[in-house]
Point group: C2
Chain length 136, copies 2
DNA sequence: GTGATTGCAAATCTTTTGCACTAAA
DNA sequence: TTTAGTGCAAAAGATTTGCAATCAC
């Protein structure tokens, strides 16, 4: 083992103003080491247990929201029954597989919204989400 | 009062293969008489009670889903905690006011998606949803 | 040590379900 | 009369919360 195996993740948490606790470090390693991912609280909790990381479901929920507030994650709304979180926080859109409830990034250039309405008076556009729903 | 005040709504329900019961007729009148609307189960139930329509929340849920299956309504996903239903079933997109959880149609021509990825192998695109999230 | 964080269990909120009752055809 | 639809209350599923115990600094 590296003498400082967690330093990158710890730095990232500190940079986001989050105290690097054992649970946050472990979850951050699952989320951010490797390629972009989409998780739900349940799926991340299950994955943590698989890796023998002792963390409660409540803490997973809290952590996902803290990471989202800190802009380490992005919340994606595609299903009224479950929250999805995306480790890819850059501007991009999604396929949603209705048969399997799976979410997949659409590469940035493959969607282009060429016309948008202006924001209603007094409002600011926070985000434009495009979801392409597919099924077999 | 007209001698056949409910005939239009009744025809619409029959046409959709739904038996025109007292509850369905009353809810359909709230939903379809007047301009396009966005409702949640809770909001429609409250509105029904305001109009002295005796209907249970469970029936409102069931009815909204039956209407959706019959293509009298469309379900809109903008919030992971609540289902919204839209009486406008034509192709169009939405503003979502994050401060007030309110949903509003964007006129058809004000959004144009000029490039879309092709569907993954074996999948068919069921719908493309664009949500413009705004806040004050 | 001190304040932030966590775990647990209970609470909350939305939605669905089982079943006896009622109403439409 | 027959079957579909309804109401209620209970169940289910996802998420949040209160509070004592624990941990980072």
């Amino acid at each position: 083992m590296d003498a400082r195996p967690y330093s990158q993740v710890i730095e990232r948490l500190r940079g986001a103003g989050l105290r690097p606790t054992r649970q946050r470090i472990a979850l951050a390693k699952l989320l951010f080491e490797g390629c972009d991912r989409h998780v739900t609280a349940e799926s991340l909790h299950a994955e943590a247990l698989d890796h023998s990381i002792r963390v409660s479901l409540a803490t997973v929920y809290n952590t996902l929201h803290q990471f989202t507030d800190a802009r380490l994650l992005r919340e994606i709304v595609v299903d009224s029954h479950r929250c999805y979180f995306d480790t890819n926080t850059t501007d991009h859109h999604h396929f949603f597989y209705e048969d399997t409830n799976r979410l997949e990034d659409i590469p940035g250039d493959d969607v282009e919204v060429s016309r948008l309405p202006k924001a209603p008076a007094g409002e600011t556009v926070r985000r434009v989400d495009v979801v392409v729903r597919v099924s077999g």
